[in-house]
Symmetry: C2
Subunit: 214 residues, 2 copies
């Protein structure tokens, strides 16, 4: 059985808090893109800690991505889409508004922090980076932009130390990627998924007391 | 001095949990629109409790709205924009993607739950409802849509019982509006804004023990 780890809201809060200084120093983001729904909570908390006195908040944009992984047991053997080649497909449920307001052109030349809760197979993050870079490229060309390049960086609460199906550009993987915690290939129970939050916290506290997490 | 109330993450979680049954029964939302950044956390929590077994998650779309209120002390007396008429302006920092993916047309004929953390002056909510209804109307006409009307409803964690600057359509105000708690005109300290979450929780617990909240 895959071991579970229970993460409380206050732990999520502190993971964001302790990461904020490094994010400010190393990535200096102008804006965040939260991958929904998992990225919403960390992005909102991070915003509090990334705010500098007398400066406005760092804006958060949200995109929605759903990862459909064809499960081996639902596949017919011998059909296309077997375990090797299968079956991760990312679909957009929300993208940036490309209309009159020009959100995409707002990204051009900026430092953009992509926020999600967990880096599991890396498929979603690969998709997000590729598609955002492509759209920014198109917007840059349309604008005739000649300035500083747009820089994407990534923050996740947890990175699972496992073989990844998705891959990130080297410049991100080496230096523009931050995980507050690296964990094994465990099942992470985030508080916003708990049906009984008191019990969830008890289990988290028991793990902390046993030294099985942190 | 305006009294402060401290709300913990677990309280926010439980406010969403206890509201979910009524939301499912009365509003039956097909999707949520979270007003960022305050709506992100409650929307993500709500999604867990609105999910029915064997059904997909209810999608969350995010919009970004900023409320600028001209403060009386920054105004010149006698100039346009005095206290009476002044000074609330809502600007969009993110809107729905109206491009090829047709997010707006996805709203047509649907039951849409707008989620924010607090209903203070109601200005932001009025803006959101008006603009969404306008855009849905345009999309409906383009599609030649003849079916069930699109229905917006609202969920907030806290409604401040005070005179409102913004106004909602009657059909929303009477029956399609839900606040998990109604409070006085207090300063609500949400956990995602806390710089010291342990101290924040202590203050919240002290208030609960004194019976000054709930």
């Amino acid at each position: 059985m895959v071991p579970k780890i229970y993460v409380t809201y206050n732990e999520v809060h502190k993971l964001c808090q302790e990461s904020a200084d490094r994010i400010l120093a190393e990535f200096k983001p102008h804006l965040m893109i939260a991958i929904g729904g998992g990225g919403y909570v960390p992005a909102r908390i991070l915003r509090s800690f990334l705010k500098k006195p007398a400066s406005p908040n760092i804006p958060i944009q949200a995109i929605g991505l759903s990862l459909y992984e064809s499960l081996p047991e639902t596949m017919q053997p011998g059909t296309p889409g077997d375990v090797e080649t299968a079956g991760t497909r990312v679909t957009r449920t929300q993208w940036l508004d490309l209309s009159s307001l020009g959100e995409m052109s707002n990204l051009v030349g900026k430092k953009v922090l992509i926020v999600d809760e967990v880096d599991d197979t890396r498929t979603t993050l690969e998709y997000a980076v590729k598609e955002l870079e492509k759209d920014v490229q198109i917007a840059s060309e349309r604008m005739g932009y000649q300035g500083e390049p747009t820089e994407f960086s990534i923050f996740v609460l947890h990175n699972k130390d496992k073989e990844k199906k998705g891959h990130l550009p080297d410049r991100i993987e080496n230096g523009r990627y931050m995980a507050a915690r690296t964990v094994g290939d465990v099942w992470i129970c985030y508080p916003w998924e708990a049906t009984d939050i008191d019990q969830h916290d008890e289990l988290a506290n028991k793990q902390a007391a046993n030294g099985t997490t942190k």
